[in-house]
């Protein structure tokens, strides 16, 4: 008995001791002392690798690449070590590494930080300051501005020899997002992320009488928000309420809000008009049962809705449609889903490559960024390999006109043909702000929790919380902050507060 106890105690001690070593990411510690002297040699060797690979492609492209590569000068140090790229997920990066390995000898590694795209927004700040070896990091649209507007977090792309001229063919909104307040290009995206509406053809046939391959008929049923709601009603009646129109409020919100192209914050004023509009719409959908408001975006319930045939469709962006991504997990493996443009042209997320000021593998970093955001041949190869929508209009036109892409999950449909139209329709004037991730999370949180309250209460609760979180913001006066509050506890507290103030 005492032996057992002792063994267990030892196990317990080991378990506790090992927990002390758990930290953010599994980042490998490497010597980050930049060796200025070796940079020239490594750079040239890296470029040799690049040239070898492009020699395999058509002659025109390789010469184009050479001239472009010669255009910029790399000013960051290079010690010839492993290129470390920080991201919260390796889904895209592993595909990119496969393609990269065909063209380069440089070693690359994925360093994990952050639980998910939204969580990475806060965890990066700590990680990047920790002094670990980071060369490139991946950022999302919702919070990228926090990082590219901070020179201690990110370096301009010109330090890697890349300029805005290289991105003439990219989707303009990706360049706008990658540019900081001073007009310096700090980040480049390898993908554009236009989104469409993806639906289950079996359910569409059963309840709406739409033939499996008749995507035009489906698009006609969801061509704008009024039609979308009418179809939801039809579906509800036909299925006796068993099937919802779409899985989550989060998906609706994404399609609705990004298409509005309206900023959350104007100067320092919080704008709630789009939120107000969406609140009314969300309440209508939830009350009518077109959507189940209790389901969290990306949660297990969200997956189950599609798998169990409880929802007709999802709002999916390009990166949801690749093999192994969301569509496959949510019931698309049988190939009976199709994608259409949906009610509005919108984009969802997308990731940008940013350069760390501590980058010490600049040769490989420059090559990596150039390969996936500038080089048309490699971008095409990557797109066809991974199903990702690459950030180059010419390449996407070529893929669609060649008909070289077909997605087995969509029964052989070419999602690019649909999403290319959407991508052309995306407008992104200065509508993203550094507050977006926080405000979006807050809004979705408040909305979901108070969906049964009236719209004014929801907006007030949102404004209260948003202003509490962001002390430099002021309200736009549309929703007075202190006459109603979020939940019961908050209402009580606020009442007590008012009483105390009098």
């Amino acid at each position: 008995m005492s032996k057992l106890t002792r063994t267990l105690a030892l196990l317990a001690t080991l378990a506790m001791a090992s927990s002390a070593f758990v930290a953010c990411g599994g980042g490998t510690e490497e010597s980050s002392a930049p060796a200025e002297g070796s940079s020239v040699a490594d750079e040239s060797s890296a470029e040799e690798g690049g040239d070898e690979s492009s020699a395999e492609e058509s002659g025109d492209e390789s010469s184009a690449e050479e001239s472009a590569a010669a255009g910029g000068e790399i000013t960051l140090p290079d010690d010839g070590g492993t290129l470390s790229i920080v991201c919260w997920t390796d889904t895209d990066l592993l595909n990119m590494f496969d393609v990269f390995a065909n063209h380069s000898d440089a070693a690359v590694e994925y360093v994990s930080c952050g639980e998910n795209g939204a969580g990475a927004s806060t965890e990066y700040a700590t990680f990047l300051n920790s002094g670990q070896d980071v060369d490139l990091f991946v950022a999302e649209a919702g919070w990228i501005l926090n990082y590219i507007n901070d020179d201690t977090m990110s370096a301009p792309l010109s330090d890697l020899g890349l300029s805005e001229a290289d991105y003439a063919d990219a989707y303009q909104y990706t360049v706008e997002i990658g540019t900081d307040n001073n007009g310096v290009l700090k980040a480049a995206s390898w993908q554009a992320a236009p989104g469409g509406w993806c639906y289950n053809t079996d359910l569409a046939q059963q309840y709406l009488g739409i033939e499996p391959d008749d995507t035009d008929a489906m698009q006609a049923k969801v061509k704008d928000w009024d039609t979308f709601a009418a179809t939801a009603e039809e579906l509800k009646t036909a299925s006796d309420g068993a099937v919802t129109m779409t899985a989550t409020l989060g998906g609706l919100w994404q399609a609705f809000s990004t298409a509005k192209n309206a900023a959350w914050v104007d100067g320092t004023t919080l704008k709630t008009d789009v939120a107000a509009e969406f609140t009314d719409m969300a309440k209508e959908y939830a009350d009518a049962g077109y959507v189940n408001p209790a389901v969290d975006q990306w949660s297990d319930d969200w997956t189950a809705e599609g798998l169990n045939g409880e929802t007709l469709g999802y709002f999916y962006s390009t990166w949801c449609l690749a093999a192994g991504a969301q569509l496959e997990g949510n019931g698309g493996s049988a190939g009976n889903w199709r994608i259409v443009n949906g009610p509005q042209d919108y984009f969802w997320g997308g990731s940008w490559l940013c350069v760390s000021p501590n980058c010490n593998t600049s040769g490989a970093a420059a090559e990596f960024v150039r390969d996936f955001t500038v080089d048309p041949a490699i971008m095409e190869e990557y797109s066809l390999e991974s199903g990702d929508f690459c950030n180059n209009k010419t390449v996407m036109d070529k893929i669609v006109s060649d008909g070289s892409n077909s997605n087995a999950l969509l029964g052989g449909q070419d999602q690019f043909a649909v999403l290319k139209d959407v991508a052309d329709g995306i407008k992104m004037s200065d509508s993203i702000t550094k507050y977006d991730q926080n405000l979006k999370d807050t809004f979705v949180d408040v909305l979901k929790k108070n969906i049964t309250s009236d719209s004014a209460t929801i907006l007030d609760a949102f404004t209260t919380k948003a202003l509490a979180d962001n002390s430099d913001l002021t309200s736009d006066g549309a929703a007075p902050a202190d006459d109603a509050a979020a939940d019961d506890a908050a209402a009580d507290d606020a009442a007590a507060d008012d009483a105390a103030a009098e």
Binding site: T5, A12, A118, A125, Q297, S299, V444, D445, T464, D469
Partner: protein
């Protein structure tokens, strides 16, 4: 008579080696304990977000406590802090009471010489086990078992058995989620408390119990007249450590959620502090609110700790001390009056 060598040895001071040996500890302690403590105070008087280098005096405190700071969001911050404070006390109370009762019962059973429980060692280890699992694993385990919808095990089972007609919101419901956290905290910590109480009980002189037995005291009488009074020092210790731990409760309330954020229904003061501290880059984080909330929770802890100690002070010892002082005074007074009193 000391020789010359002996005198020389005496003249050498070995004290400096002592200081050198303990210096590393103090250096590390200053850097990683004292300075952060002081810095928390400093931060609580500085601004938030982009204004985080400006001195703002007591603005953060008036925002958090009275909702009257300069920022427009001040009432919202106050609401949230009070909500978090309320949650903290509810969650602490709800896990401390069942925990101490269960632990006490088990500790008495396990130490009772008359109750011959088989496999005591096994049970002690098994009951201590939950405490060594990391909170992250525990939260993940419970979230995956007790998810909100019919897609999770517990709700699915109860629905299929017809016990409930609608899934219970164990993770996001305002009441159910609090009960879950209280249960998890109790489950995690009762083994630990039990071991502590057992050591306290075993420290009581067994002859007291024997004497009580011979005098015919029942086990209930023994428990209330011997165990409880003599267990008091350990109880106070348990109460104080549990109170400090409870006021700083963070891991399970923070981790027990689905979706992108922690659950507001479970937001404790520690979660409030962490959230404000870690909202993003330096420009987004509200260090001022986080610092002020830390100081407030420190003040509350100090106050409650003092009250606990005051209530549990050894009254007999104090009475005896007073008596002795009184006697001394009387004696001195008598001496002053001069000589003997007949």
């Amino acid at each position: 008579m000391a020789s010359a060598a002996q005198r020389r040895i005496k003249a050498i001071s070995y004290a400096k080696y002592g200081y050198m040996f303990i210096a590393p500890f103090f250096l590390v302690y200053c850097f990683f304990q004292i300075w952060p403590l002081i810095y928390t105070f400093i931060l609580s008087f500085k601004g938030n977000q982009s204004a985080n280098t400006e001195w703002v005096g007591f603005d953060n405190y008036s925002t958090i406590l009275f909702g009257q700071g300069t920022a427009e969001g001040a009432p919202g911050v106050q609401t949230e802090f009070l909500h978090a404070l309320g949650n903290t006390f509810i969650l602490w109370f709800g896990n401390f009471v069942p925990q101490i009762l269960l632990s006490l019962l088990l500790a008495v059973w396990f130490t009772d010489a008359k109750v011959k429980l088989p496999g005591k060692g096994f049970f002690k280890v098994v009951m201590y086990m939950p405490n060594i699992i990391t909170a992250a694993s525990v939260a993940a385990l419970y979230v995956s078992l007790f998810g909100d919808s019919k897609n999770y095990f517990i709700n699915a089972t109860m629905l299929n058995l017809g016990l409930i007609s609608e899934p219970i919101k164990f993770v996001s419901g305002p009441v159910a989620s609090k009960i879950m956290v209280m249960f998890i905290q109790t489950w995690l910590w009762f083994g630990n408390t039990m071991i502590m109480l057992m050591s306290g009980i075993m420290g009581i002189n067994p002859s007291l119990f024997e004497a009580a037995d011979i005098d015919g005291a029942s086990s209930t009488q023994q428990f209330f007249k011997i165990t409880i009074p003599l267990l008091q020092p350990i109880m106070v210790y348990t109460l104080v450590t549990s109170m400090i731990g409870g006021l700083q409760m963070f891991d399970i309330p923070y981790l027990f959620h689905t979706g992108a954020r922690f659950s507001r229904e479970l937001e404790t003061v520690a979660v409030f502090i962490y959230y404000n501290f870690n909202k993003g880059t330096v420009d987004q984080a509200s260090y001022g609110y986080a610092g002020a909330a830390s100081i407030i929770i420190f003040a509350i802890t100090a106050a409650l700790g003092s009250i606990t100690f005051y209530m549990n002070r050894d009254k007999d010892a104090i009475a005896k001390k007073k008596q002795r002082k009184k006697a001394e005074k009387q004696y001195k007074a008598k001496m002053k009056q001069g000589g003997l009193s007949i």
